[in-house]
């Protein structure tokens, strides 16, 4: 196998020593480590095709990966399988400024694409997740991730306008308008076969190129922080602001996040007396100062009204002011961002139950999740965001832990199981579902859908070599 791989990509692009494989055995989360047999770096679509054919001939499991930061063990290999590291396949193939889309390879990171657009003064932008700057834009689109443009434009998969995919037999397919036109303007009007690859966690093929939509970058922007003192006040504000259609993003963070950002590693699980319970960060963009002032005015009016009706909310604070007071809050000034309090806290472990669900049920979900986390001794670190105009939202319960402590890992697993059951009972659906959670949910998911998924998987990957162990396959 090694000889064949070296023949395809060269010796520099095949790793098999214990120390080289070490970073690929595990990710941030509590999943058990798994040893790959090789890590292979591909640089072109053709190389990917040949590698996949080789794996198919030997029935070798293959797991695509870029940064491995999905926080769910989704890029961990199957035992004895290979990891196909796509981080060196990182060309920004084109940016169509007229029709506002880009064509990128899997290794293009959030930081790369931002730099590319800024350096060329292209007045277009995309959404940033809170994931580290070196994470793949393409991978997060395939996972239906959430960003600071998701309130306006939905999850990242909704921006995909065409895919180029290597199927598990090594053949190549193009989806969307790209299948016929030289312009990858959208997935319409053909049947949307891109759905075979979106949300599948790499279990149906390896995407080698993606066309995806960019959005106008406005001349002015502002990020405002709103301190709130009750879940009801917080989400009443979120729901009302969504319906104004004026905000680009309304991120929500529960009180422990600010403390952790300011250096408190393990905040006491209950808030201090008089402390705000949530921070909303509201992004506004505008072409003119008058447009910005109008938007700010509407925001202030809505907040004042909510306050008057009995839910305490503070007047919006400009993030620039907060930054002057405490630079540690700079993490929220510019995206993409390295949230070191989550990724670099010593213990190394980060996990969450991240869900999409109805905004109308957020207070209920937050109360139940907070109770569970506090009872189990974890600060209730919660991240929220309304999506796609407010039709649904993100509700995510986050915990950090010491990965080297078996007791902590056991506590985390129990916490996550209880949170998963709670959110599912309340109608929320876990995204980027890790294998352990899929097993728990399997009995509750519509059997018709599960059967259809099984048939689809068998159709494209009859040998079952693509990222085995994910989504129950």
């Amino acid at each position: 196998m090694k000889r064949a791989l070296v023949a395809i990509v060269g010796a520099d692009n095949v790793l098999d020593s214990e120390s080289d494989l070490e970073p690929y055995r595990e990710d941030y989360c509590e999943a058990d480590p798994v040893d790959p047999s090789f890590v292979v770096f591909a640089r072109t679509t053709e190389e990917v095709q040949v590698i996949v054919k080789l794996c198919a001939s030997g029935r070798t499991p293959i797991t695509p990966r870029v940064a491995g930061s999905n926080v769910g063990g989704l890029a961990l290999p199957a035992p004895g399988g290979i990891v196909l590291d796509l981080s060196r396949m990182n060309r920004i193939v084109s940016v169509d400024t007229a029709d506002m889309y880009a064509v990128i390879e899997p290794g293009v990171t959030q930081a790369d694409l931002k730099r590319h657009l800024l350096e060329r003064d292209i007045p277009l932008t995309f959404g940033f997740s809170l994931a580290p700057p070196d994470t793949s834009v393409l991978a997060n689109c395939l996972l239906g991730g959430l960003t600071n443009r998701s309130l306006k434009y939905g999850d990242q998969s909704q921006w995909v306008s065409g895919l180029e995919v290597v199927l598990p037999d090594g053949s190549l397919v193009r989806t969307g308008s790209w299948a016929l036109s030289d312009s990858a303007f959208g997935l319409v009007p053909f049947p949307d076969v891109s759905g075979m690859f979106i949300g599948w966690q790499g279990a149906t093929g390896i995407t080698t190129r993606m066309a995806f939509q960019l959005w106008p970058r406005h001349r002015l922007n502002k990020r405002l922080f709103v301190l709130t003192y009750s879940a009801h006040g917080t989400f009443e504000a979120v729901r009302r602001l969504c319906r104004t259609e004026l905000c680009d993003d309304i991120g929500g963070l529960s009180w422990p996040s600010a403390k952790m950002m300011m250096g408190v590693k393990n905040p006491y699980p209950e808030p201090a007396t008089g402390e705000p319970t949530f921070f909303l960060y509201v992004d506004l963009t505008a072409e003119t100062a008058a447009e910005m002032a109008l938007k700010e005015g509407v925001l202030e009016q809505i907040l004042a009204d909510i306050h008057r009706k009995g839910d305490r909310v503070e007047e919006p604070l400009d993030v620039a002011t907060l930054l002057r007071v405490n630079p540690a809050l700079g993490a929220f000034a510019e995206f993409p961002v390295e949230l070191e309090f989550l990724t670099n806290h010593g213990g190394g472990g980060l996990t969450w139950i991240g869900t999409y669900g109805p905004l109308s049920r957020f207070e209920d979900g937050i109360a139940a999740g907070t109770e569970i986390m506090v009872r189990r001794g974890f600060p209730p670190l919660i991240v929220t965001r309304p999506m796609r105009g407010g039709h649904y939202g993100v509700l995510r319960f986050v915990a950090i832990f010491d990965r080297k402590s078996p007791e902590e890992v056991a506590r985390i697993r129990e916490l996550n199981v209880e949170l998963l059951e709670m959110v599912t009972d309340k109608g929320f659906v876990m995204y980027k579902t890790p294998p352990w959670a899929w097993e728990k949910l399997r009995g509750r998911i519509d059997p018709g859908m599960l059967e259809l998924m099984r048939r689809m998987k068998r159709l494209v990957d009859p040998l079952g070599i693509m990222n085995p162990g994910k989504l129950g396959f």
Binding site: R217, W255, P267, A272, E314, D318, A320
Partner: protein
Amino acid sequence: MKSARAVREECEDGGDGAAPHRAASGGLVRLTPHALEASAASLVRLHEPERMNLLGLLMRGLLSANLEDPGLRARALALRGSIDVRAGDMHVTLRFAAEGVHIAADGTSANARVSGDMKSLLGVVTGAGMIGPVLRGRVRIGGNPFLLLRVLPLIRARAGGARAEGDHPALPRAEARP
């Protein structure tokens, strides 16, 4: 996660320690060379950091940044007394002692007080001035006015300490932050 007791003990090592050296409130005393050489961050201590409220944490960031400045550091270390800062329903007491500044949210009495809503207090801290907000009733002050006057420069955000508006790569130009 540590027990509350363990947390308290961890934070109290060295703790306040200020009492034996404390001069009359608002008074100035001679400085110890040790404190003058310590790192700014180590001069600002939190009582029970894991339970500290947001206001206390903001204050720590601000004071740590300001005490990098030798002039402000000397002023802070020469100051004796305590001031209660209240933003909305959150409050902390800043105690100035020979070893540095100790921040607690324990509700003990202080020599001076300043209170207001978060936005107005941040305005004062970032240079909007005290008089206007006090006259408008958005910020209230009480206790030893001399101590207040001496503390004010120490809790002013400096342009060079925390980054000022416009300096940050993200702000305020749209180009910098997508």
